[in-house]
Symmetry: C2
Subunit: 356 residues, 2 copies
């Protein structure tokens, strides 16, 4: 009897072991990461500066996100570089902007960006509202000015009406701050739920295959998840690129990151920890856009951030895991915008925002 019992126990242990291991991995994953909410309006809970999000602000923000007349040339909108066709980014090494300026850094995605602890690669802005206002007036991006943006919006009665309805308590609602707030309220809904990994986090063990699970385990065991965790895999705000070992010069591209804003030695080479959602869609990688293959980016992170040369298998596994972070892409229909009026500033391919 005892023998039979022992034998059955042994068989039971044999059958359950992989599941027990799976459960441990899933439990660890659940303790470390969170799924993207399937209701994308949940993004509103994470807004910082933009107060009282409403559908009216959302609709206005969507229009402004697609509004090329906010740019100096009136050709570029937020969507030009944060393109819904390309994972919320542009696939460029560094962005191409007003007058074909080549920007200094790679375009980060606008998807799930409400979760970012800070905004921009150098973390110079604390939230989406402040972020949204940046590129409009950046001479290397949209190349416009606050003055131009306000003149454009105020020239169209439909826009003025939409601002009044979106910000009903304000006397003069057409402000650059409210342009930023409306865009932020729209952007904060650009979530990408239902990735295979989200299904796994919700208990579907089959959502990841063996290699993807091995990659997840490596990702947690090796310490990648120390910075890349939470909903958007970016719980840390800033980290020096090269904590363990400086990446090669081509990748660093002479960019000292936050130091260029703060002048503080401890900020040298400090960059925003980027979220990893949909990372398979947003090559090339890093602030410099100098790495095209996700495998190579994983290898660089291993040596530069965790001080470990990951082997080929580990790199392949982690890459396979990262590909499970691709979720449903936002389905946004292009809004029809109000027609320009006689008062609308004319487009100017040579527009300069210097002294404006």
């Amino acid at each position: 009897m005892t023998r039979i019992f022992l034998f059955l126990t042994f068989v039971f242990a044999l059958v359950m072991a992989p599941n027990a291991f799976a459960d441990k991995l899933m439990d660890d994953a659940k303790a470390t990461f969170k799924p993207i909410p399937t209701d994308v309006r949940e993004g509103w809970k994470f807004l910082k500066q933009a107060k009282n999000p409403t559908e009216k602000k959302y609709e206005l923000g969507k229009m402004l996100y697609f509004e090329p007349r906010l740019s100096g040339s009136q050709l570029f909108s937020c969507h030009s570089c944060h393109n819904f066709s390309l994972g919320g980014a542009d696939g460029q090494v560094t962005s191409i902007g007003h007058k074909w300026f080549l920007g200094p850094r790679n375009t980060p995605t606008s998807f799930n960006s409400v979760y970012n602890k800070v905004q921009f690669w150098d973390g110079r802005k604390p939230n989406l509202t402040e972020q949204a206002k940046g590129p409009i007036t950046n001479i290397e991006e949209m190349g416009g000015s606050e003055e131009l943006a306000l003149a454009v919006v105020k020239s169209m009665p439909e826009y003025v009406e939409l601002f009044k309805k979106a910000f009903p308590k304000e006397k003069d609602p057409v402000t650059f701050e409210n342009i930023g707030q409306a865009i932020a309220i729209f952007e904060s809904t650009l979530l990408t739920p239902n990735a295979p990994f989200d299904k796994y986090l919700k208990g579907d063990d089959k959502a990841l295959n063996k290699q993807e699970k091995a990659g997840l385990k490596t990702f947690m065991d090796k310490g990648c998840a120390n910075c890349h965790n939470g909903v958007n895999f970016d719980i840390e705000d800033m980290q020096p690129f090269g904590v363990a070992e400086k990446p090669e010069a081509k990748i660093l591209a002479g960019d000292k990151g936050r130091f260029m804003i703060s002048g503080d030695k401890k900020d040298e080479f400090s960059f925003k920890v980027p979220g990893l959602r949909n990372v398979a869609l947003t090559a090339p990688y890093f602030h410099s856009g100098q790495v095209w293959k996700l495998e190579d980016a994983v290898a660089v992170m291993g040596s530069s951030q965790i001080g470990e040369a990951l082997n080929k298998q580990e790199i392949a596994d982690v890459t396979a895991f990262l590909k499970t972070l691709t979720g449903d892409q936002p389905k946004i229909s292009v809004p029809a915008l109000p027609a320009s009026t006689d008062k609308t500033p004319k487009p100017d391919p040579h527009y300069s925002n210097i002294n404006k």
Copy 2:
């Protein structure tokens, strides 16, 4: 008795006269113009080169319309200049293209363009398929090449699969011709039905107000409708700009139109008759984009094409009428595109298609 009868006849005539007049105007309008079909797939009936339109070709064409990687820089797509937010055009005087080239002519709308008798301002292409292929390789527009476009599409297995499904009978379906056909099949559905004038054409007398009706009458009486009739107000293919009297030099902008293609003296200053649907959304006007106000464009047409200086009232009426041609704008959600692979050509802001 006879007197009473005569009196009643008189009263009857008095009461009916405005309606009789309205009916006459409506009848004339119905004989001259046609409404835009509410089922936008009806556009497929007017395709010339693109054969056997299907939903699979439509879906592929939509992706290619939004595909920036078809351009030299991989920044510009068809949608960059034929923007659904701006009536299917770009609101620029002349288009801004690859490397910030300023194109020689104003961007025509892609909406209802399947009805165009010819394509491009100089009418150099006979249909949408040939049109769609043009800007991709035009050095002043998307600045790409056939070679690049095919390399891009072939580098992504998802695209290759979509081409196979869209063109199931072809051995090697990924061709530049099929890129053009798929885009044309998508574009031909960019119809804008339900404009107030369409409702009027379908018998709703109240869809136009008094001034708009006066404008319609003037538009027909003065001969505007000789060229601008049919569904898209462009039954004629080409006309010399300045049949009656040369427009001012600034508007002509030294552009000899079709002559620059044909070298034939009779083609001097000959341009495509543009459709007038949604014309209120697509300022500035003419091939040169030198006229911003629709009223001014109407006045120019009066003097240059019909040889008559329209008076202020007539201009205001015709303008009011033209504004009734704004229909429902296409609601198209931005398609998610396949991720680039290792084989996808890298974006190059300095790309040159010379000798390719």
